[in-house]
């Protein structure tokens, strides 16, 4: 269970055919009333085809910014993003995004939601419906095609959002804390579902999360980020056997990985907390 250092990992990934998603030296700064802050500071890493990579870090480490940059929703950054050799500038057909918030369209039924990307791409109705059905079945929501999102639970709605993104058959699936608003048990079970789907589709996946258990449960490698300015602190190789299920959380090896990552994260998380407290303390000071 040796932990590969980030340096060696990047060197290995430098081989062009090994990498599928290349994040190359990204720097992103924001102007705020308090001055310029660096959200992402020279972050580089790669994701291999079929791999499940989790990016984990404390709140404020820039992981959501990274998510939006890779997805092409933010510009004005330094560095570049490459997918299967092509440079990414703006939302890319090969990249599918699943957002953290409730993102299903409340005015469309489940099947209309899932068929949305196909509709945008101009696929004919009969084909759209059929393909949408397939992905609805994949996330385990068969029978709910004609329901509206308000009739479903939060976990089911997130599954609809995932099915919708999968329906666009992206080469890379980007997920930004998709299970953040769900309770722990639902999360574990949905994690199972995601694992199952990913294994079946051999879907290259990048998951942003703050949840250590989730990261270790689902991924092949974990990228730990520092608190602001966000840098790569460490890349951890997760050598738990595949295929996996949520039972893995009770294994010893699992526990060791979690402890190890928490060791890295604790430092960053407490820096974040002190920062918040300092800011709250001085909130009234400004004229």
């Amino acid at each position: 269970m040796a932990v590969a250092t980030s340096a060696t990992r990047l060197a290995e990934d430098a081989k062009p055919d090994a990498a599928f998603l290349v994040v190359d030296d990204i720097v992103k700064r924001f102007e705020t009333p308090d001055g310029a802050i660096t959200a992402v500071d020279h972050v580089s890493f790669t994701v291999r085809p079929g791999e499940f990579l989790a990016v984990i870090g404390p709140s404020g480490c820039g992981k959501s910014t990274l998510f939006n940059i890779i997805g092409g929703l933010i510009d004005g950054y330094e560095g570049q993003i490459g997918v299967a050799g092509e440079r990414v500038a703006g939302p890319h057909a090969s990249i599918g995004m699943v957002f953290q918030e409730e993102s299903t369209f409340p005015w469309r039924t489940v099947i209309e939601n899932v068929a949305f990307p196909l509709e945008i791409a101009g696929v004919k109705k009969a084909n759209r419906i059929e393909r949408a059905r397939h992905f609805i079945a994949l996330v385990g929501l068969s029978g709910f095609e004609n329901r509206y999102p308000t009739e479903l639970s939060g976990g089911m709605r997130q599954r609809v959002a995932i099915a919708r993104t999968l329906a666009s058959e992206p080469k890379i699936l980007l997920m930004d804390e998709p299970f953040a608003s769900l309770d722990e048990q639902t999360r574990l079970l949905l994690g199972d579902k995601v694992l199952q789907i990913q294994q079946e589709l051999k879907q290259t996946t990048l998951l942003i999360t703050h949840n250590i258990t989730e990261a270790v449960q689902l991924s092949d490698r974990i990228l730990v980020m520092t608190y602001r300015p966000g840098r790569v602190k460490r890349i951890v190789e997760i050598n738990l056997p595949r295929p996996r299920s949520s039972d893995i959380v009770s294994s010893e090896a699992f526990g060791r990985y979690v402890a190890q990552i928490w060791g890295d994260l604790r430092e960053e998380a407490s820096r974040g907390m002190h920062d918040d407290e300092a800011r709250a303390l001085h909130a009234g000071d400004r004229p």
Binding site: G72, S103, F105, I120
Partner: protein, 264 residues
């Protein structure tokens, strides 16, 4: 269970009106009785408060008069066209303002502060520009409903859940697809409410214009009744008008609400 057509025992009488309805009936009866007393008392000048009989008769006469329906059609047409023009332009203006922060901060204050001004004062100008015919009445309807619809649409754009816009962008929808498949459906509630409000004020603006200067339409009929001191007829027209206005409002509201029940 009683068999069809044959009741073996007397049914237990259940209260056939609940308390709320009882109170409502009581209130209505009190008003009607008070009215009739006032009418018969001779305290007020004759016909200022006509007897219920006279009013009922006037309503019947009104509703069986083809001339009335012709005028109703004229007014409804004016309101309809005014609402269409004012509503569509208001929608467009609101969407543009809602979409662009700079434009919104530059021009929304105009809409916001001009909204609560009495539009009827613009009527002389409308007459100058559009003549004494239906044109000026339609114009009154247009300027009345433009503001509430534009403001509702602009507010609606602001309130769209931002994540839904990001979803559209992440799937690379073009501008038309974004507008049709995301912006408009997401705004359906504010738009329906804006249209309801717009209908209300377009109705008022058009009718007031008709009372001021017209030779046709419901407003004209009302003022005509006033000048002839035909009070029962005036009351009849006002009552029918109120029923129609409240009904139209309820219908539009129900249309929006039905949408609500089905789709969130």
């Amino acid at each position: 269970m009683a068999e069809a057509g044959r009741l073996k025992q007397t049914d237990v009488p259940k209260a056939w009106v609940d308390p709320v309805t009882q109170v409502r009936i009581a209130i209505i009866l009190t008003i009607l009785v008070g009215w009739e007393l006032l009418a018969q008392s001779g305290l007020l000048y004759r016909d200022v408060v006509p007897s219920l009989g006279k009013i009922s008769l006037a309503i019947v006469k009104l509703l069986s008069d083809p001339d009335y329906y012709w005028n109703l059609g004229v007014t409804a047409g004016e309101i309809g066209v005014g609402l269409a023009i004012g509503g569509l332009s208001g929608l467009l203006a609101g969407i543009v303002l809602g979409a662009n922060r700079l434009l919104r901060r530059a021009f929304e204050p105009y809409l916001y502060y001009l909204g609560p001004t009495p539009k009827i004062i613009f009527f002389p100008i409308m007459i100058m520009w559009f003549g004494v015919g239906p044109g000026s009445k339609i114009a009154m309807g247009v300027i009345s409903c433009f503001f509430p619809v534009a403001l509702s649409a602009a507010a609606g754009m602001q309130q769209i859940d931002k994540v839904l816009i990001r979803v559209g962008k992440s799937f690379r929808a073009n501008a038309w697809q974004m507008a049709m498949k995301i912006y408009l459906p997401a705004m359906r509630h504010p738009i329906i409410n804006g249209v309801r409000l717009g209908l209300g004020v377009a109705l008022i603006g058009t009718l007031l214009a008709e009372t001021k200067l017209s030779n046709r339409g419901i407003g004209f009929l009302i003022i005509q009744a006033y000048s002839l001191f035909d009070m029962p007829r005036m009351y009849a027209m006002l009552i029918v008008l109120f029923v129609l206005a409240i009904g139209a409002n309820a219908v539009v509201g129900r249309l929006g609400g039905l949408h609500n029940i089905q789709r969130n």
